[in-house]
Symmetry: D3
Subunit: 261 residues, 6 copies
């Protein structure tokens, strides 16, 4: 891309808002990419999104001219990062990073030399940005977002180490996995002082090291709160729950008519 809107917004201290995609379909992506979103997260970790799905979904997002495509990897690895960036993604998010060493490896795989060790070679990466491969290579290190997830108590002891990793563009909190590792029942939806404390520590590390912090949000209302709390990268919706809740609501709206009869 010629301009990573997500990075631009976050650097301006403005929240980047997007949608989390759990349905591996280029068709739902095409519909949503017309909305005023900053990003769309193509989830390869907890959704059955194949390489082929991902590549086509990234192209659908980026060619819309609207939101930018971010790929949440199934696991931090060189090959997973290569395929996402070769597809033209504006950024990657590596899950479950607990140490600086792991964080540094993610950055290295996501950045070309001399910063990192990313291999270059796709005929496709620059297409949706209207770039030749040469142009794409030149601009990549500036514009590709290398992000990681902090979502395990093992990472909480290493926050300074992790956040000071050179080249790290964003840290995303995974509240469900973090809760699980802290022994908190995420699904109960109860406030938890332990979880709140952990989040504050993460946000503080972000402020200290000037690294924007984002978070997965299970609802728009929670997204609203997270933005106010200082998170700069939030999904305001997830496609799967939006669909389920929307149809549930439609069943209620339309059911009243039966009672009226």
């Amino acid at each position: 891309m010629t301009n990573n809107k997500i990075l631009a917004k976050m650097r301006n201290n403005q929240p980047a808002r997007g949608v989390w995609l759990g349905i591996p379909s280029v068709h739902s992506v095409r519909l949503l990419a017309r909305l005023p979103l900053d990003f769309m997260i193509i989830d390869m970790e907890h959704s059955p999104t194949s390489l082929e799905n991902m590549v086509n979904m990234v192209a659908a997002v980026t060619s819309s001219g609207g939101p930018q495509a971010v790929v949440r990897l199934s696991q931090a690895s060189s090959e997973n990062i290569k395929s996402a960036l070769d597809a033209g993604a504006a950024g990657i998010i590596a899950p479950m990073i607990n140490t600086r060493e792991e964080a540094a490896r993610v950055v290295s795989w996501a950045k070309l030399p001399p910063i990192g060790s990313r291999s270059f070679g796709s005929s496709y990466a620059g297409l949706t940005w209207g770039q030749t491969p040469a142009e794409n290579a030149r601009i990549s290190n500036d514009q590709v977002m290398a992000a990681i997830q902090v979502e395990n108590k093992a990472a909480l002891d290493n926050l300074d180490d992790i956040f000071s990793t050179p080249g790290l563009d964003m840290v995303l909190v995974g509240p469900l996995d973090l809760s699980l590792s802290l022994g908190i029942d995420f699904f109960a939806g109860q406030p938890s002082a332990i979880l709140d404390e952990a989040m504050e520590a993460i946000l503080a590390a972000g402020r200290k090291h000037n690294v924007p912090v984002g978070i997965y949000c299970p609802s728009a209302e929670i997204a609203r709160q997270r933005i106010q709390q200082g998170f700069l990268f939030v999904n305001v919706a997830m496609d799967t729950t939006t669909l389920i809740e929307g149809v549930k609501q439609a069943l209620q709206v339309s059911e009243t008519s039966i009672r009226e009869e």
Copy 2:
């Protein structure tokens, strides 16, 4: 299936409610099939639903034990009806039927001899119903819904002929195509006496010939109204619009937070 719930409900003068599927994904179908829906319409006419999509979507719906799968054909033809019923669909809807001859052909393709001329031979049709091919063949004519769409002014002159077609299980109104053919701007959303009259005529034909009438509904509120009006087969939601509207709403909900800052 051992029992077509859609037909059972309609015969009891109870509305069958479902969801219209414009996203050709087995994954969104699996999520929605857990909701208390009577049917899910797999649309092959105006959605890019391939044979492979349809077959997997029908299996996903039927194996949920909840709603039943109805396939809206891309066009009335023997091969299209065969593939839907061989996949285990509980019914088919043939679009744009304007004459009794066309209606009769649809019924014939959907029913085995001696009623119709459907060819039998799938190893898969009965699987989700727990039936052997022999059992499936025996039960099919009773349980498969053969439906057509009335959605063109050309059909309005033939309502008696069409509705009296033997074996016809349901007539679905297509309000958008019907509006277009009547010179009405459907998208304007204005009341239209001409359209209302046409719909009343169709409902009347249904009552006269004891054939349930359904209708495509663009929203849950309209579905509520249509049920009260006497339509017995309505979609309370469509996946595509549910998704778009849900994310739009999430953008609004979460945006207030920014203003508050």
Copy 3:
């Protein structure tokens, strides 16, 4: 192909034996294509075989150098015949042909001018035969098998008309659909004088008009009997039933061990 082995065998009054494919998988096809079969039938009528499946399955069969690929169409149509022959199939079988007019249309769609009206233009049809498009065009009318199914009582009155259709290469009996149309319970597996008579009439028409007759066989034992009866194109197995019966048998063989304990 440079030499249609199926036609050659049948012209020599030798039975061509093959396997009927109900599993749309290029992988099972690749495994079976190494067996000494004369043909493999890719079924698009009663199996969920997409265009993409068919094309890859035809290539897998023909490139094995062993059996030849025959496509059973989902319905007789110009486009269905074109796609099968463009994929390199050695023949097509059109289901449910009841009149000479229908049979003649199938032949016309399957043969290039001056015999028929088939359109030419694939870059792929000749590949597995090692032919350029020009070579493929030259040889096609001689080597492509144009076959139809007789499987409805409506056809029994027209046997002479149907069998004398110029260019017709084979007639395949569909015993299940024929039984259904004759009011016979095919699944009961009982002998039926009416069915036997119909088959004899079809075989006689074949002998009279010098057109080979084939038949779908539900088991190897029945295939054996049909060959003795004079049928020249028989499937000795179907992949779906072979798989089911084989695993059932394995459950029995291995279960004895538990009883022994």
Copy 4:
């Protein structure tokens, strides 16, 4: 689309130049869509292009902002035209049209009422044009190209009837099928007075009835000649032959080095 560049060029008597796609791949399409082409023809007749391929290929072409997508149908039918236009194609080409009745049916299936009988209803058709469904419906009849192929001697007697079909936007000559039907060996590449005469007659009919005429071209050199001859819609290349010829040439260029050793 807001503006059909193909129609605009042809109405200006300027040749529209494109590429013919025989490889059903969204990836090769994405690469080529960055070239200064007027159109890309997605061939569903003689290439193994599935519905899913076509839909993704059309989106890839149109979202490039460059060439426009034209779908050559596997056969003229309502469902084939619907799926192409619902995918957002700028036009369709129906093969093997021999009579005015057939031509009129194609136009009717491609145009919404009151001109034709096309059914409307896709959530996707307008996406790549940035249109809502309502906007897309309003603009379609003006902007969608309804074209047919004249490629059989049966059509040569009906040229006046065919070319005067109201709403017909372009006639494409299929020189290979036309040659076959005229008994000419197309692959020999010899000049043919009979073929030349047929083409002149077709061009003359186009001039008389003010309908642009296009033609399939097997090479860029022939495309050059056809443009000079007055054809207004020509493919300057076909992907399959471009690839084969390019690799052949590379083998020659690189082989000299071995001889030098």
Copy 5:
């Protein structure tokens, strides 16, 4: 799942019997899932089973209400285990585990905190079990089978270490790879004292540490023997060989008829 039948049987010292799937097809799976099998192994190591295949195959198995789905991983890794369990698999089998460290890592990836480090987050995992994500999370550690393969002589020295890995639910012997690593020609089918001794050692380790032992079986007869020998998880058939052997047999049965003539 609410109840892992495989674990239940093995804990009762009853053999769990299943089928090994080498054909990556949801269709063959659907057919076989109606048989009284305890499990179906979806092989991602030595079969071309893509993520998409696996997800659909797991859903097809589990939604049948019969056998349970076990995924044999292409390699032990966090991402491979996540995708299998997110799809709803009842268990995973990691190939080629030679040390306790490797075994412990597999268990950790397969179990949620506090036992392991598995990440949670799928919208789909609980669907076929009728569970909400919360219910699925709660039940997973009890019900998901974490299994490994011992199939290399490098593992034979570490049997005590491996078998005493906490949380290990089953050890599957891979006789082909074990033979290769021991220098035995598995394909010769000769008895081997060395191999027998290795197997006895593995079975003994299982008894000592109360971990059930399974084994890949190339035939039903061998499965019978293995069950008697004390193996508690055996495949009684493999789809690929069942198909090949079944068609070979059909060729023999039907060939006699030709000789008789």
Copy 6:
């Protein structure tokens, strides 16, 4: 395969010439596999080639009887090598190998015991070679090419260590990544003494340790030069650039005609 032509040629000091595949399509592969190429490289690192694509592409190449299939891995790993060899590939190329340890691991994963630790078990690997699994296992270590890429300055210090790795069959230079890591602007196309020196060092290491050296070539002219320079494994073309350049040229050729008017 019964005879690895690539290895045979290189051992004879003859250059093996092939084509690099960046379009993940079985169809373009089928077309090109008829040309006199020694190999076709299925690229999984920088092209969106899924497992399913790769498996079908390998089968298409090998079943052509012409070139042999080589898979460039997305990353060196046991699972990636297994899937390529199980598909029947004649060789694998692991990218970005910088140390002897990494090289040795690649060889180990690609060779069966006693040489390496590759796991055996595919029903498909030997099919296109006409081999039973037993035959395929016996011949694999002799015939499968285990190759690596040297493409980073980190590797330049370890050339002797890397090239002396036992069982290493070929080393492929990646000039783009090598340039990037050396701080050279590859896309500028300027001669670079540093790059030339690095290549000479690699060629020298190859001669010293008797390991053939190959190189990625961006054009046929460069391939010619590389062969003269002593590289024994070169791609004379890449499908993506061949296609783009070919269509660009066609636009030029055909455009002259417009000017002439």
